[in-house]
């Protein structure tokens, strides 16, 4: 790693001020950023740790019934405390491994928007609201392609609000070496319709499968997906799986997610 300065502010305001310095970079749990720094793929002048900000940690239920997760909340905490949204807790409980879950944060995951990460699928399928220090961003506007989001320079995810669905499930086909999702599908059924978000598959990062959503909104059963398929044109193709294989997995994982949704 190239060397850098380190700051650990105690408030969002102090973090925003620290991130105003040239080439300063926010640090969540570091489970992606630290390996990235080791490879010298980034060279910030200063890392600003967000994990010391008490107001950004924890899980609660908002006035509107939405589950609110502080941006610096670890996966382990979500797994243990998001009981009001069981599919979200289960998703968090299967990210990485136990030691990674004790450090990695939801804000860090969403800010990075890895095309194979789990949380982007959960946020997009839930129609979550990404709350930052300056504004609220709908999930549909937030994810803008692989490793690309609506966040501005120095903007911090302070909270993520998840409307709690009637039924939901996240089904992940694990890439056996990295344990990231080769394909992961999050299905969430709300009173006004079903949302389906897929991670791991597309060169454009997480996306919604609108055709499946329409079919499931009128008939919430795995059978409703019979005959539906996604084109493989924009799917990721690598040594772990071809584009056609990933496109096939999208259908299979979506069916499994619907069958297990509760």
């Amino acid at each position: 790693m190239y060397n850098f300065g380190f700051e650990k502010p105690g408030t969002v305001a102090d973090a925003v001020a620290a991130l105003g310095a040239e080439d300063a970079q926010a640090l969540g749990g570091g489970q992606t950023l630290i390996p990235t720094l080791k490879q010298r793929l980034a060279s910030p002048t200063t890392l600003v740790s967000l994990t010391g900000i008490a107001e950004m940690r924890g899980v609660c239920t908002g006035d509107d019934g939405a589950l609110c997760v502080g941006g610096a909340t670890t996966h382990a905490t979500v797994a243990a405390e998001a009981g009001a949204y069981p599919a979200l807790a289960a998703t968090a409980a299967h990210i990485g491994d136990p030691a990674v879950r004790n450090r990695g944060t939801i804000g860090g995951s969403l800010a990075n928007n890895d095309p194979s990460a789990c949380y982007p699928a959960a946020a997009l399928a839930s129609g979550a609201t990404i709350v930052t220090n300056t504004r609220e961003i709908a999930a549909d506007d937030y994810f803008q392609g692989m490793f690309t989001t609506a966040l501005d320079e120095g903007e911090i995810i302070t909270e993520v609000r998840f409307p709690v669905p009637e039924a939901a499930h996240y089904e992940k086909f694990v890439q056996p070496a990295s344990r990231f999702a080769l394909v992961g599908v999050f299905v969430a059924k709300y009173a006004d319709g079903v949302r389906v978000a897929i991670t791991g598959a597309s060169n454009d990062g997480v996306f919604r499968w609108s055709e499946a959503e329409a079919a499931l909104s009128s008939n919430f059963s795995a059978d409703a997906l019979d005959g539906l398929s996604l084109p493989s044109d924009d799917m990721i193709s690598d040594l772990h799986g071809t584009a056609a294989y990933r496109a096939h997995l999208c259908g299979v994982m979506t069916k499994r997610a619907v069958a297990q949704a509760s």
Binding site: G5, G30, I34, K38
Partner: protein, 161 residues
């Protein structure tokens, strides 16, 4: 440079570190606690697992500065007060849960974290919890047996043996 102070295995420890100093490097090179092993240095293998404020973390993927003010426990802090092996360590010896021993510090620290939250895990729960700890010698069976034995449970014959 940043001044850090933490409690390591019950004793105050402090030092001056660069921003980029990893917790694993601080423990090993500044404090001489070389029981925390660095295997892959990419957070895959788990040989560097220590406890920070009671939670298992990979010390190669946490900055020393992030652990400022924390309570850290390493493998050196696991033995009983009289210096004898604790129940997990003894079970690893009794059940041949190690061969070369390189992964063992991380295995023991992960096992301790598991048993703290789940005192009587099933065999599957043990295997799931060890997802982030890699052992290239044992095939895991004897490690799983050791952890089940340390939890006071009977050690089953395992189907894959």
């Amino acid at each position: 440079m940043t001044q850090v102070t933490m409690t390591v295995n019950g004793k105050a420890a402090s030092g001056t570190v660069e921003g980029r100093t990893l917790l694993s490097g601080f423990l090993r090179e500044e404090l001489g606690l070389t029981g925390t092993h660095v295997g892959c240095d990419t957070s895959q293998c788990g040989a560097c697992v220590v406890h920070v404020d009671g939670a298992a973390v990979k010390a190669c993927t946490m900055l020393a500065a992030e652990a400022d003010g924390a309570e850290v426990t390493t493998i050196e802090g696991m033995a009983n007060a009289d210096g004898s092996l604790n129940v997990i360590q003894q079970a690893f010896q009794d059940h041949h849960g190690l061969q070369c021993g390189f992964c063992t510090p991380g295995m023991v620290m992960s096992a301790a974290a598991l048993l703290k939250d789940n005192p009587k895990p099933s065999e599957q729960e043990v295997r799931d919890y060890l997802e982030g700890n890699i052992c290239r010698c044992t095939g895991y069976h004897n490690i799983v047996k050791a952890i089940l034995a340390a939890s006071g449970q009977d050690v089953p014959a395992m189907a894959a043996e």
